[in-house]
Symmetry: C2
Subunit: 187 residues, 2 copies
Amino acid sequence: MEALIRRLQEFHVVEPLAVEAIEVAFTELTLPKYELLVEQGKTCRHLYFLEKGALRGFYTLDGKEVTHWFGFENDFVTSFHSFITQQSAVENIQLIEGSVLRAISKEQLTALLNRFPSVERLLRIAYENYYIRLEERYVNAHFRSAAERYEDLLARQPHIIERVPLGQIAAYLGITQETLSRVRSKY
Amino acid sequence: MEALIRRLQEFHVVEPLAVEAIEVAFTELTLPKYELLVEQGKTCRHLYFLEKGALRGFYTLDGKEVTHWFGFENDFVTSFHSFITQQSAVENIQLIEGSVLRAISKEQLTALLNRFPSVERLLRIAYENYYIRLEERYVNAHFRSAAERYEDLLARQPHIIERVPLGQIAAYLGITQETLSRVRSKY
DNA sequence: GTTGGGCTTTGACAAAAGTCAAATTACAGT
DNA sequence: ACTGTAATTTGACTTTTGTCAAAGCCCAAC
């Protein structure tokens, strides 16, 4: 639990009463590898904090799974579009390792926001952070070659290599597995 | 001014007192074509609402300007990374038409957020919306061919074709001008 | 109407990445 | 240690996109 609170306070420090309420609102759950947290077509009703483990987001395209995103320790994860609009999700989120998570429902989050303006502020700041990160990823995907993006990934998240199969990393980078394999063979 | 308030209330309705304060905080400015709203290397101190006109965000890469984004009527625009962190911007924002804008400074925005929890909520919801839109753009850029993305763009923002030179649209789609021209020649 | 500069198209070729198939390697379960 | 499956690499070939250069087109200024 401390990890979650610590991560939240990196965005914005809130009063003890709010911390308590947050602690109560999040439920711990331990799930095995391959478990689906979010399923295409279903509505995603929770926001998760990944305390330990790893997971991926993927689409199905022409019958193939295309991973477009990974989450690791201390990440907040959900299918944003689905969680926010409460419409059905267009992606799947699946554990790629046995993981420990904390979950909060949309309703509980709304209740927290109504009760504590400080939590509203925290969430606003969290969005700012996540928005900037996404923007960076977007620009990278747009303006850099496969090789550059791979080196970037290695520099930022070296652990990803040991924890995720190559095909999924390739999809994340927006290239095929074979191309990535060739990029790697040239160091 | 009504356009700005109307757009804001689409996110979240706030009390009259907050509306008044928002109206006071935003300054109207009219600027000519080619004017730079944000300059690479300088800190972006304002958030803008584009009331009338059009603009683009661009990077310089190997001495060339690469447009990665457009803004039109009723868009909120700023160099997010720079505005939020108050570090120097990595991109430029330039008017591509003479435009009417409303600007609010970082300090004024912070003051509004401290005074009105309802504005904090409004901003949080605005971020949710903008985050989802960016995510969509990201997935599109990642998983669709040049031709598909062009058709998408035509469907969503048909006016862009008349208002923006082809080379900039191509950059926005992540392809060269020549490739886009060839895509178009096949209807 | 002519001129000149930006914008767009076209052509020829090069480079990057994709596809399909086969070969190799890694590794979990027995 | 052996086996079988999944993951990764390699090869041959195709498709897509990029690059560079040369027209062609549009339109505003003279």
